[in-house]
């Protein structure tokens, strides 16, 4: 019988900022007061290379890459889901890597190559990953699908580049596109319709593996 680990349960504390203070102020508690005067302009002008085409933008510094694509370049294929990097609907490819475009400032992408769902294929000639999602019913409502497809393409490249994942058993062996590897690598893309099983089959088809 092993001895217990000594600890003492913490007592609840009385809040310093009382409930009445909350009501009286009725404003959220923010961080310490910050200076309000800016050290420069609050807008910037820069160029993104979107789906192979240079696009000049003059926008508020606060504009995320997602909002630049959707609101300023009218490329609405990339979706806004949570806007906090949790759902993956905004996934695009920047300089060869998938990222959450909602958690990146457009102004930080001067000269970067951005590929969105609009850059992958056309209705006449779908990208193999788009065709695979179509073939396997890899969606229901379709809202998460552009992010799923952009992410899935990058997942296969990451496996080809032998980038390890949380479920990779041997860090020094060649990594295969197994169900387990694909599921783990797609965990940053949420599908609330629950099309996961078909998404997995679609990715296998695009990987050129038996489904």
């Amino acid at each position: 019988m092993s001895p217990p680990i000594r600890f003492e349960m913490r007592r609840r504390t009385f809040l310093v900022g009382t409930a009445s203070a909350v009501v009286a102020a009725n404003i959220p508690w923010r961080a310490n007061a910050q200076p309000t005067s800016l050290a420069g302009p609050e807008r910037s002008t820069f160029t993104l290379v979107v789906n192979g085409e240079p696009r000049e933008l003059a926008v508020d510094n606060r504009t995320t890459l997602l909002d630049a694509l959707r609101e300023h370049l009218q490329l609405t294929g990339t979706k806004k889901g949570c806007d906090h990097g949790q759902c993956g609907a905004c996934t695009v490819n920047v300089n060869g890597e998938r990222i959450n475009s909602c958690l990146s400032l457009a102004v930080m992408h001067q000269g970067d190559e951005v590929t969105t769902i609009e850059g992958l294929g056309t209705p006449q000639q779908l990208d193999p990953m788009q065709q695979a999602f179509f073939d396997h019913d890899g969606f229901q409502c379709g809202y998460c699908t552009p992010g799923q497809i952009c992410s899935a393409k990058a997942v296969l490249e990451e496996i080809r580049d032998n980038v390890p994942s949380h479920v990779t058993q041997d860090l020094t062996a060649r990594i295969e596109a197994t169900d387990e590897e694909i599921r783990e690598r797609m965990s940053g893309n949420i599908c609330r319709c629950g099309a996961y099983a078909n998404i997995l089959e679609a990715i296998h088809q695009a990987a050129g593996e038996p489904t």
Binding site: I5, R12, V22, H84, G85, L103, V163, G188
Partner: protein, 316 residues
């Protein structure tokens, strides 16, 4: 999000000196945590210094036989690095246990170290929080508070938040050091065990960095060998923060090192607990978690930590 001005810098010393010159300035690199917090107006910088062009994006061997990891190396690139996966496996394992593929591509080494807590009350600006708004109280210790995810040791009456990084837990067990440049242009080295401050009465001060001080690299000593593992227990199998995580380096003679994540405001490691490793999980945890002060909701983490380590030791 509040308005801000923006500049790019091209050298680390320039980043540090600008940060000291411009009141309310913050560095931005990957931005995955900072932008999230800016959208919620938990962070309200009036000026952003984009440091992504400072060239600190490579991993190199040190003269001592260790590794120097540039501050801007992405979590993906660090985890995939050949030497890291071969000789510092616990670091690859920890990195890959955190976040999602998209986030790891953008998140940097220094940014990972400096990410803020995921305490729900830190995120909820309608609630008191001594870390976000000093002096307002700790809502996590209030009646009926949700503290299941929060800290059990190293915490204080002012704050029971945990540091959320997986990477930092592995770096702690590997005895990493943080290299910085100060606004005056001097470089200094901070051992990771001195990098994170405990909250005490000032939970808003989280690290040993001085205002404007800029992280340039993380240095690893020569490889320690042994069997290395990182086990993360969480509420879902992927893309969630740790309830408890254990970084373990175990030598063939049974000796080794242990650090815990998800339990404290810093990666949690104690020399006397390392020394008890040959005696098993209970011996380690009775030293590592001695004097813990959990809440009723998170007291389970004590047993969970012990059982997690026991499971890892049983696997050999």
């Amino acid at each position: 999000m509040r308005a801000f001005s923006y500049e790019r810098v091209s050298a680390p010393a320039q980043a540090a000196s600008r940060a000291a010159e411009v009141p309310g300035a913050k560095f931005i690199a990957g931005g995955t945590n900072l932008l999230d917090l800016m959208k919620l107006e938990i962070e309200t910088p009036v000026h952003l210094i984009d440091v992504s062009g400072t060239g600190l994006d490579s991993i190199s061997d040190t003269r001592e036989g260790g590794l120097r990891i540039g501050a801007l190396v992405s979590n993906t690139d660090l985890a995939a690095n050949e030497r890291v996966r071969r000789e510092y496996g616990v670091l690859t394992r920890a990195l890959m246990a955190g976040a999602s593929g998209q986030l790891r591509n953008k998140a940097t080494t220094a940014g990972n170290l400096l990410q803020r807590t995921r305490c729900p009350y830190f995120y909820d600006t309608a609630m008191p929080c001594n870390k976000r708004a000093p002096g307002t109280g700790c809502a996590a210790l209030g009646q009926g508070a949700f503290s299941r995810q929060l800290g059990i040791i190293g915490t204080s009456d002012a704050c029971i938040a945990t540091h959320p990084s997986d990477m930092a837990v592995a770096l702690r067990v590997l005895d990493a050091e943080v290299e910085t440049v100060t606004p005056a242009g001097a470089s200094r080295t901070i051992p990771l065990d001195e990098f994170y401050r405990l909250p005490g009465d000032t939970p808003e001060i989280e690290t040993a960095l001085m205002p404007g001080e800029f992280i340039t690299a993380v240095k690893l000593p020569p490889p320690v060998g042994g069997r290395q593992a990182y086990y993360k227990v969480r509420d879902r199998a992927s893309y969630a923060f740790a309830l408890v995580s254990v970084a373990l380096v175990r030598q063939s003679d049974g000796s080794g090192r242990v650090a815990l994540g998800g339990v404290a405001p810093q990666p949690w490691r104690r020399a006397q607990a390392d020394a008890a490793l040959p005696d098993g999980a209970n011996a380690v945890m009775s030293r590592l978690l001695d004097g813990a002060s959990p809440t009723e909701e998170n007291a389970f983490k004590i047993q969970l930590a012990e059982r997690t380590l026991a499971g890892m030791l049983a696997e050999g």
